[in-house]
Symmetry: C2
Subunit: 336 residues, 2 copies
Amino acid sequence: MINNPVKNFVEKLSIKNNPKVVVVGGGTGLSVLLRGLKKLTPNITAIVTVADDGGGSGILRQEMGMLPPGDIRNCMVALAEVEPLFSELINYRFTEGSLKGQSFGNLFLAAMNGISPNFETAVHNMSNVLKVRGRVLPVTVDNVNLEATLVNGEKVLGESRIPEVAREQNSKIKKTSLVPADVTPLPEALEAIAEADLIILGPGSLYTSIIPNLLVKGVPEAIYTSKAPTVYVCNIMTQPFETSDYTAYDHYKAIIDHSYNTIVDYCVVNSTSIDDVKRDKYSKEGSVPVKVDRDKFKDTQVQILEADLINPQDPLAHHDTEKLAKLLISICKSKR
Amino acid sequence: MINNPVKNFVEKLSIKNNPKVVVVGGGTGLSVLLRGLKKLTPNITAIVTVADDGGGSGILRQEMGMLPPGDIRNCMVALAEVEPLFSELINYRFTEGSLKGQSFGNLFLAAMNGISPNFETAVHNMSNVLKVRGRVLPVTVDNVNLEATLVNGEKVLGESRIPEVAREQNSKIKKTSLVPADVTPLPEALEAIAEADLIILGPGSLYTSIIPNLLVKGVPEAIYTSKAPTVYVCNIMTQPFETSDYTAYDHYKAIIDHSYNTIVDYCVVNSTSIDDVKRDKYSKEGSVPVKVDRDKFKDTQVQILEADLINPQDPLAHHDTEKLAKLLISICKSKR
């Protein structure tokens, strides 16, 4: 156990060679982490939510009856070792016609899905084409949607509609669940968790990227049972109408409440203050830096790891992929 | 000059090592030839029409203002040396939603076009990704359409509409032209023609795949000037309302009439009779085997090369890629 989180935390630990790291989440937050992580270990498994129903992914989901490709595509691109031209191609979004806004990478996965016996094989084959360092796994291959219950009692079905409806009703998310509730986790995902040296939750949207994975029966159980330490990477900024005014503890609490047991050993938070220029950009949208309420963690077994995790080059308050990855990889020690 | 076309024609000629072969056309006929040709020489340049405006290509052309990708994609796939899975992917057509019927390969070229400074670079980059053996060049990168004048005087603008309108009006194609008439040939295409050891026209639809290339000012001139022998590969069957009742000489004559000089040295025709089962399949659509009217060629300098060119495995009367390629590659001798 680490008793004294400090700035130079990373250097103080001996890092196991090529540790097996499992990253759980979705969205762009996860891909930021993966970009840094792949330089430190080849043994990465990204377990990714398939509850997305918005944007280009939502269109393909609706029109082709396939699982949403976007989050998985993002992770594959982050771990890809293919030439830059090909990466650029996969990230390209069409600018005209009926495909306007659609990602070519999504269509790539849709076509691969069309020639493959199932979705996980399609992801596997696309990973091969992109020379992915590590593995990207959908948390389930069942057709599943996210439903939120707001504090005002309203139920919202569909991940993409949740923040929107919460905003309209000026309410907050109370809890989320899957529809249908019983979905089967991908066996390879559970195996990866069982064999992991480190399990990372996030970074990413709390309710729409991280928790949907934990709602898949068997996943939090596997995390709890695994000997690997589990780290939750707390967001730097709150997300309007998803985690408005949430402190670090509120984030943590939501994860535990949706997992039915205390699966988190470490909570990684940013220690650098956000400058006024950045703050201003966020405050217009009702987003503020997440407060780290250490006191509330006192009754838990969770260790807070506080470090400068900001990317100074980024005009927004985003994680620095290298700083974050280095900090995380240093935690590869057995837990409990 | 070859004076005695015989069955064992191929074996009687010494084949130059890695001859530079230029193939001019479009459509699936060309890609059948390319598949066989690439086994015999790495020096292949396919010069491909961009006048197509039908199907998935037409939709992308209209929606994205790009040149039609279909014919070029077909040639790239035919020359590709990439893994079979990737070829299968590029050939995949979506089966559902608004992309139903669209080829993924077309979208691949559309996306590549989106990240490239121009269309020819996009084709070049996609060729690299597909490990194309040889080169695929659009005959022009100008936005051009095909217009046909029917025998009844009617003008039809748009390649895809030509056979359809001819059928409706029960008329035939008299001549075709480009709109606009003045388009610039791709310099690399002219260079390839100038440096060729062999120039092949077709196989493919006479008016909608082969002639559109010859209507690009400079192309027939370059073919005429080139020292390479030029071979026209005549279709095995007539095409309803495009070449209904056309004999081999009629095909040849149409090429010459649209080229303003006698650019053809050899005319390759099939010698095998088409069996009744195959004939029946075609006759329903008004298609019959092309008659070889040798007499009419007597006043020309054209040598008829007659050989068994049928693919016995094919349920239709299609060229056998290997037989055709071997015959053609044997002609690599200087002309005139």
